[in-house]
Amino acid sequence: MPLNALVISCLAYAALMFAVAYAADRAAARGHVRWLDHPLVYTLSLSVYCSAWTFYGAVGYASRSGLEFLTIYLGPTIIFCGAWWGLRRLVRVARMHHVTSVADLISARFGKSNRLAAMVTLIAVIAATPYIALQLQSVRLSFEVFAMDPRGVVTADALGGTALWVAIGLAAFTILFGTRNLAADERHHGVVTAIAFEAVVKLAAFIALGIFVVWGLADGPVDMLARINRASTDPRIAEGWLLKPDRWTALILISAAAILTLPRMFQVLVVEAADEDRLHVAGWAFPAYLFAMSLFVLPIAVMGRELLPADANPDLYVLTLPAASGQNLLALLVFLGGFSAATSMVVVCAIAVATMVSNHWLVPAWLALRRIPVGEDTDDLRGFVLNARRFAILAIVAAGWVYHQASGGAAALAAMGLVAFSGMAQVLPAMLGGLLWRGANRKGAYAGIGLGFTLWIGLVFLPSVGIGGDLPVPQGMDAWTAAVALSLALNTLVFVGVSIFGFPDPVERFQGLSFVSAIEPLRHSRTASADDRAEPLLAMARRIWGPEAALRYFQTEARRQGKSGYLPDLTPDFLTGLERRLAGSIGSATAHAMIDRVAGGVALTVADLLQVADEAQRAKEETQRLEAAQAELTRTARQLHQANEKLTTLSVQKDAFLGQISHELRTPMTSVRAFSEILKDPDVSDPDRLRFAAIIHDEAGRLTRLLDDLLDLSVLESGQAQLNITVVNLHDLITRALEAASATRAERGFLIDRDLPSEHLGLITDPDRLLQVLINVISNARKYCDAVHPVLIIRVQRPQAGGAIIDIIDNGSGIDSGRQSLIFEKFARLNDPARAGGAGLGLAICKEIMVTLGGDIGYLPGQGGAAFRIVLPQKPAGGTG
């Protein structure tokens, strides 16, 4: 095939790419994004994973190492099939935080540290440059295949500028479609659509070749499998085809890491994703794409070995096999497929790395030089960022070309894919740790990535370009595997260790929470002038303290500064005071961070702080609410328990009371009934008749008294007793009571000891009720006093507060201290009922009467005999007549 025809095809293809990208961008600009946003477009764009290294290299790899090439496809497949939830999480969190690159993700998670981002950017640049060189190399080599004259001699002069022209074309394409605007979401519809188109070309070319090889060169699948089988037993290649488990493990791990950390993969997977729902389709479709891409690798490799000369480059079998078979059109299609793989990789990689370089190197440096306050989102800055990105794209593609020229197209480039993979994999521990573990912090990320990066440079990168030797490893172990395992293991270990012992700052902790819990973070807002900053502080305080309290505090502070209105100046005094007050509500660390950010800087926006404040307040309220509910429950349980105990006691008391009443009623009734029956007997003598009749009379009287007492008690206890309040002289009442009680055991000559002058007191009370109490107490004394010469002492005192205290004391043996508290209980009859004649309700009734009158009655211990003290207020509590 003439070289010129090839060049023209190539140019036409490139023009087609420009057209596709342009059309997609135009459609997006007009808002027609429906088909652009289709999950299949997204899935196809992920195929940027299959660069020229995979397109050409996989066959070479399979030819040298058998099935090992599969590991490069297995890693991503495992991630997409086995960890789709993790991918969704990554995309969601990254979209929430408007992350623009893998460096930006790491920096945002670890306290928005730009130094960390700059370090990740450095790794990306170092890893990407040779990788881009590899793509240019593959394009040049594929040209070479067509440029070989029949004698196998390359017409070098015709090829001299190939790599350069390709580089220039790619840089132009990338700048044109990669830096059209500074859209907030950093999406590039034109580029993505062009890449999706190229993905189809790649796959179509590879499958067409595969079909040609299996059905055209070989005799169908059965014959093909037999050839593969034969090749695997060929002693010349058998050793290379041996399975090496440690290397397989490392390769699968590294390629799985690559799908997440390679700048171009992060760009298409995360940054260009409209939302995490695309992963529903991509979750199965992308592994299926990889499967299709890998299906014919081994047949092509085996057939190349069989049919092509032994010195032919296995990396170019895909081209040389159809070319040698005279299939020029197929060769051209494969060439375009490889060209697609190379160009799409360079374009996306350049966009991704250039974004990092411009955002984390150039713009911060420019801002530092210009001394523009961070956050002043001026047009000036916007222009600079766009230009910085264009410059970075140019620089990166140029670096790749320079590297390609310098390396002289050496075979060393072939290993560059794995070198780049293992370099970017050093970001993986910090990335996963940041997403899954709140304890991960910036110091840990620094230490881990820093150490991993250094080890990678020393053990993987420099040896790959011929500086320094491979890691000395035990025999039978692969140097690359050992270096990767060592660097990643130490990286992870240091990251976790330093994180555990380090303490994250508040911004970091908040970002950690946001990443790990996938909580919606905040929009950036513009910084206001210093004067306006008091307002957000007030808004923040209001959310923590409530509107009134916050406003009151701010007003007080403003007044103290001699200002009118409610916004004080942000003096250190005011800020310190505010921080201390806030610390009381939300803890000192948070308060410090909040004040610091609002009053001092803009790393976190006001919206951030409001959210922190809201969350702190919500958590506090929730805690308080739970505590209150808990306390309420405890209180209710205690009340229920008390009520239950009280009811049980009451129930026991009620049963006891009813039993007592039953007994007290049945006893006199028994006598009455028995004797009245006896009286019916005509044989009973007259004296007996008279005696029995007297007993019946007595017992009937006892029944009547008991019923009276019960009625009285029930009226008093229910609080329905009618009082007839009048003014009364206490002396008269006592005299009347003594007279009334004198009938009780009248045979005993009681000596009454009174102090008459003190008794002349005017009281406002119910005289009948008070008299009832006095008679009861005096009668009891007459009944129970066991002294030979009984004496009753009555003493009256007048307390300062008014009213009266009446002590009634006899000279008997008194009441045991143990029973003194019982005597006012109902039915607390102490001694032989024969001597009492009552049911034991007397003192209970007295107690009820005195309480009703607003006073009290109690036993007065230590007086020798039985002693009762009656306390009366000046007038009853209710106080009316």
């Binding site: 009734m669 006598s671 004797f675 007993i695 001694n831 032989d832």
Partner: protein, 119 residues
């Protein structure tokens, strides 16, 4: 001559009535009015029937009955006991009595019950 009936009852009028009724029916009846000392009197008198009031001062009829049933002398432990109660219900203590009579009672019922227990 052996005592037929011993009655432990604190209400003198009731005790008087019961004694009158049972004496006229032909039995020898003795009275005691307190829980204290009741057991001693039962031991010395060894009545053929014990009439026991449940509510007694100092020592309840139930306590006396329980002690009696535990007595080492099998004749005492097996003594027929008629429990008198003015309470609505007898409760556990009454379970050990051979018969229970609620106050107020019918004189004929009392006589019939005693006759049955003594036969």
């Amino acid at each position: 001559m052996q005592l037929d009936i011993l009655m432990i009852e604190d209400e003198v009028n009731i005790a008087e009535a019961v004694r009158f009724i049972l004496t006229r029916a032909g039995w020898r009846v003795d009275l005691h009015g307190d829980g204290d000392g009741a057991i001693q009197i039962i031991r010395t008198q060894r009545p053929r029937l014990l009439i026991l009031d449940l509510m007694l001062p100092n020592r309840s009829g139930a306590e006396i009955l329980a002690e009696l049933r535990q007595d080492a002398d099998p004749e005492l432990a097996a003594m027929p006991v008629l429990m008198l109660t003015a309470r609505g219900q007898v409760g556990d203590a009454g379970g050990q009595a051979d018969a229970v009579l609620s106050k107020p009672f019918d004189n004929d019922d009392l006589r019939a019950m005693v006759r049955k227990m003594l036969s």
